[in-house]
């Protein structure tokens, strides 16, 4: 005969009903050993993956937002260095690409070469410089007032006119 009591139990009452027997001695209606083995296996796999990750990433995890704040990677072309038979190394000048070598471009490049060979005197533009001092000594002479006002000469001329 089974005594049936259908009611609610407080937490304390349920704790009082906790058996004192060791867990292994309590019969359960499922394969607890298999279940525990499954959980342990998953935990082992996770630990192995974590260890592998740490080994490959130097033990540091990066957030997924990491790449949002980095500068764009700009690739700079390395200058080509040519070494001759004597062992001298020289930079190779940048050659125009094939598309630039049209007739018009060729003409332009030859004009620019001719112009570069002429002697051009360029006065330094110092208006944007921090110092107001002229950059070239010649400019100092050029800026100097050449014709000054001679007061004595002016007096003489006035007296002459008065006499007249």
């Amino acid at each position: 005969m089974v005594t049936v009591l259908r009611r609610s139990y407080t937490i304390d009452e349920l704790f009082q009903l906790k058996p004192a027997a060791a867990p292994a001695e309590l019969a359960v209606n499922f394969d607890a050993v298999e279940f525990c083995a499954l959980v342990a296996k998953v935990k082992e796999i996770q630990a192995a993956r974590e260890e592998e990750y740490m080994a490959h990433n130097g033990g540091r995890r990066r957030s997924s937002h990491h790449f949002a704040h980095t500068r764009p990677k700009v690739k700079h072309m390395k200058p080509k260095v040519k070494t001759d038979e004597d062992g001298w190394s020289t930079f190779e000048p940048k050659m125009p690409s094939e598309t630039d070598l049209t007739e018009g471009n060729k003409q332009k490049s030859s004009d620019s070469l001719t112009a570069a060979q002429e002697n051009v005197r360029v006065r330094p533009n110092n208006k944007n410089m921090g110092s107001s001092r002229p950059a070239d000594a010649k400019d100092i002479i050029a800026d100097k007032q050449i014709l000054g006002f001679n007061a004595f000469a002016a007096l003489e001329s006035e007296s002459e006119s008065d006499n007249e």
Partner: protein, 216 residues
């Protein structure tokens, strides 16, 4: 017969440390002597489910969520509870679910579809999580968290790196009974004044930015 009387009779009847039962296989509180007949029945049958964390990309949700066992007495509950890993022993992304009768721990289940869940996130792992999970289970299967005995469908523990989650699944979104249940759930989880519980209807389950409909 009161619980104390039943317990006394239970202790007199069951002798797990020795006696005749010792010679007849494993000693349990459920097997044992032939005339052992006293059990403490629960109001309903409960099913323990486990969500296994995925270890292979080919595994689907249905492969991961599996029922483990069922119980409908206090003694069966303790036997099961003491033979499964404690929450702090579970791998990350594991879930324990204990649901009433044959309700599946999915919001698509007919019994859950119009309900929601009281949710609480606990920071850190360890003894606190184990104790609070046990207290939650006892409050749910003992039916003391829900005086009406009609709202609670089940309870879920989710083991996560950011914080372990306790969720109490209900069958409706009715504010009045849910508020009472939430207040008791706070006591069970020993939530202080600075902590709070949030209720999310299952209808917002697909919305990652959903706001709780009730906060306690």
């Amino acid at each position: 017969m009161s619980v104390e009387e039943v317990t006394k009779k239970f202790e007199e009847t069951v002798n797990v440390d020795g006696g005749e039962a010792a010679s007849s296989g494993p000693k349990t509180v459920l097997s044992g002597e032939a005339d052992f007949e006293v059990k403490h029945p629960l109001n309903t049958k409960w099913t323990l489910w486990y969500t296994k964390p995925p270890v292979d990309k080919s595994e689907s949700w249905s492969d991961l969520l599996r029922p483990v066992t069922t119980f409908d007495t206090v003694e069966e509950f303790w036997a099961i509870f003491q033979n499964i890993p404690e929450p702090h022993e579970l791998p990350l992304k594991s879930d324990y679910h204990v649901f009433r009768n044959d309700i599946r721990p999915e919001w698509e289940d007919e019994a859950n579809s119009k309900g929601g869940k009281w949710s609480f996130q606990l920071k850190g792992r360890g003894a606190d999580m184990d104790e609070l999970w046990l207290r939650t289970l006892l409050a749910v299967i003992g039916e003391t968290i829900d005086e009406e005995e009609s709202e609670i469908n089940g309870v879920v523990l989710s083991v996560r790196k950011g914080g372990n989650k306790f969720a109490l699944w209900t069958k409706s979104e009715s504010k009045e009974p849910l508020t009472k249940i939430g207040a008791k759930f706070k006591q069970v989880l020993k939530i202080e004044e600075e902590g709070f519980l949030e209720f999310y209807p299952h209808s917002t389950a697909n919305d990652r930015h959903a706001h709780p409909s009730i906060i306690l």
